[in-house]
């Protein structure tokens, strides 16, 4: 109840400060009706080269591609490093060197390597999500109770069976924690990459709106980024509940 009231009063304050009493310069904070106009413009005739749907779908597609590649490459690598001390000793140095560099810092290099098109963006999103995928899968395996592994072994389980039935399910909760974090980070990286240079996408909308000094459109862009981010996190949460439904029974 209080929640609805606060959001409503924040909106009312916004209206009062901008249109009602005109306390704020509309070039600093747009009035609600200006945001509405911007929204109708980008939904109808488009802005920065495309409509809102096209920009959003483009950004979603990039995040989905980079994120999926990161999961497919990162999780098995993390599982391997968690399972084998040898693999860990060999691969960990590379992570020690690369991990302190935030994925955002790869954006200029990605532009030199791949240009302003999609490949460079998929590459930096892959980097963003790859490191947490590896680290959380690794930690997940290490947190599996070794007694469970020993028990499976005693009952004659092969290595493949131990992995399939004990280690991988046991590390799943940790893996999903990593995925959730890296999905949020992926959106930050994508927006940054698109702000630095892009032909399409929500970051491009923000960039052009900033150059045009079009505050209404900036807010539309920010809201679109938030909705896409929240929506993809929600989807991942649903997937997590499906995959981890055995946990409720435990």
């Amino acid at each position: 109840m209080v929640g609805v009231a606060t959001v409503a009063s924040a909106l009312a304050l916004w209206w009062l400060a901008t249109s009602g009493l005109r306390l704020l310069n509309p070039l600093r904070l747009p009035a609600p009706h200006e945001v509405w106009t911007a929204l109708r413009q980008i939904m109808g005739s488009g802005y920065a080269g495309a409509t809102l749907w096209e920009h959003a779908l483009h950004s979603l597609g990039l995040v989905a591609r980079g994120f999926l590649v990161a999961v497919v490459t990162g999780v098995p690598l993390g599982l391997l490093m968690g399972w084998s001390r040898r693999a860990e000793a060999l691969i960990n140095p590379i992570f020690l060197l690369l991990r302190p560099i935030p994925a955002l810092a790869w954006i200029p290099l990605a532009i030199v390597w791949f240009g302003l098109g999609d490949t460079g963006k998929v590459f930096v999103i892959w980097l963003t999500a790859f490191v947490p995928s590896v680290i959380n899968s690794f930690t997940g395996v290490r947190n599996v109770d070794t007694v469970l592994i020993a028990a499976a072994r005693t009952q004659g389980a092969s290595t493949a069976q131990v992995l399939r039935h004990v280690v991988i399910p046991g590390s799943m909760p940790m893996i999903f924690t990593g995925l959730r974090l890296s999905l949020q980070a992926s959106w930050t990286t994508l927006v940054a990459a698109e702000l630095v240079g892009a032909f399409f996408g929500l970051g491009r909308v923000l960039n052009i709106a900033g150059q045009d000094i079009f505050p209404g459109m900036i807010l539309v862009g920010m809201a679109a980024v938030a909705i896409c981010g929240a929506g993809s996190t929600w989807l991942l949460g649903r997937l997590e509940r499906r995959v981890l439904n055995w946990r409720a029974a435990v």
Binding site: V2, G3, T6, V7, A10, L27, G82, W83, S84, R85, R86, E88, A89, L90, I91, P93, I94, L97, L98, P100, I101, P102, A103, L104, A105, I107, P108, L109, I111, V112, W113, V141, R142, V144, I149, R153, V167, W187, T188, L190, V191, A192, L195, V196, L202, G203, L206, N207, A209, G210, P215, I218, L219, G221, M222, A223, V225, A226, G229, T233
Partner: protein
């Protein structure tokens, strides 16, 4: 115990010698592949300079200004900007989180507002930040603030919630004033959670700093990299990445040290 440390879930025991040999092999693999690709000419030098070329560039940037400043000045500009933005986030976020943890009404007022902007990626604030505070110092500060604010609030809030009500009641029964309860019970109780939140927020803040410098400012490591990219000078871009990595690593090491110090002082966290 030491031996168990080297025992993987696969049951393979790894000796210390083998561990270090493999670690060394890992480092050599990384630098070896890099050097090989660069020297064999599989990629042109303006796409991938060799490790030695990058080292030379670092030494050169230390003496000759690029993008307006020498390397150390870019480094200091970034660190200074980061510290200001992060201090702002910590200074506002931690007290806000603690108060939200103690006063239900504040929690109910702030949480919906907080939730409704939580999903706006920090870098999406860039155009608005530039509009409000310009691209000099204010704009980037807002980006760093937005990037590191949420973990501060959340960790302080969780910490405050974790303090046992019985401890508060006990202190009150013994006649402690509101301020004393806060100082001697609530803040120490919330401290472990706050400290780990600080680490997360510093990492995110540093990341946001890099992002904001790529887009809006005229000095700093990110700016150096963008200028290098504009000149297709990959060696300068990589030199910038190394500085960013080292500072990010140092920030984490310092905060880990503080965390360990608090754990020793206040017992286990």
């Amino acid at each position: 115990m030491a031996n168990r440390n080297f025992l993987g879930p696969s049951g393979v025991v790894l000796g210390k010698g083998e561990f270090w040999a493999l670690t060394l092999a890992g480092f050599s693999l990384f630098f070896g592949t890099w050097a090989l690709v660069a020297w064999a000419g599989w990629l042109p030098a303006n796409l991938l300079p060799s490790p030695l070329a990058v080292w030379d560039t670092l030494v050169r940037l230390w003496q000759q200004p690029f993008a307006g400043h020498v390397y150390a000045d870019h480094l200091l500009a970034s660190i200074q900007r980061f510290l200001m933005g992060w201090a702002l986030a910590v200074g506002i976020g931690i007290p806000l989180g603690l108060l939200m943890g103690w006063y239900r009404i504040l929690d109910e007022i702030v949480t919906p507002l907080f939730d409704s902007i939580r999903f706006v990626a920090p870098l999406a604030w860039v155009p608005l930040a530039a509009l409000w505070f310009g691209t000099g110092i204010g704009g980037p500060l807002l980006i760093i603030f937005v990037g590191s604010f949420a973990p501060c609030v959340i960790s302080a809030y969780r910490g405050a919630r974790l303090v046992e009500p019985r401890l508060v009641e006990a202190a009150q029964t013994m006649g402690a004033s509101g301020r004393q309860v806060m100082q001697h019970v609530l803040v120490p109780g919330a401290m472990p959670s706050i400290i780990s939140g600080l680490r997360v927020s510093a990492g995110l803040g540093w990341q946001s700093l890099v992002g904001s410098e790529l887009i809006v400012v005229g000095a700093g490591l990110g700016y150096l990299m963008v200028q290098g990219q504009g000149n297709l000078a990959t060696n300068i871009v990589i030199a910038g990445m190394i500085g960013i990595g080292i500072v990010g690593f140092a920030i984490d090491v310092v905060l880990r040290g503080i965390e360990a110090w608090f754990k020793r002082r206040w017992g286990q966290a």
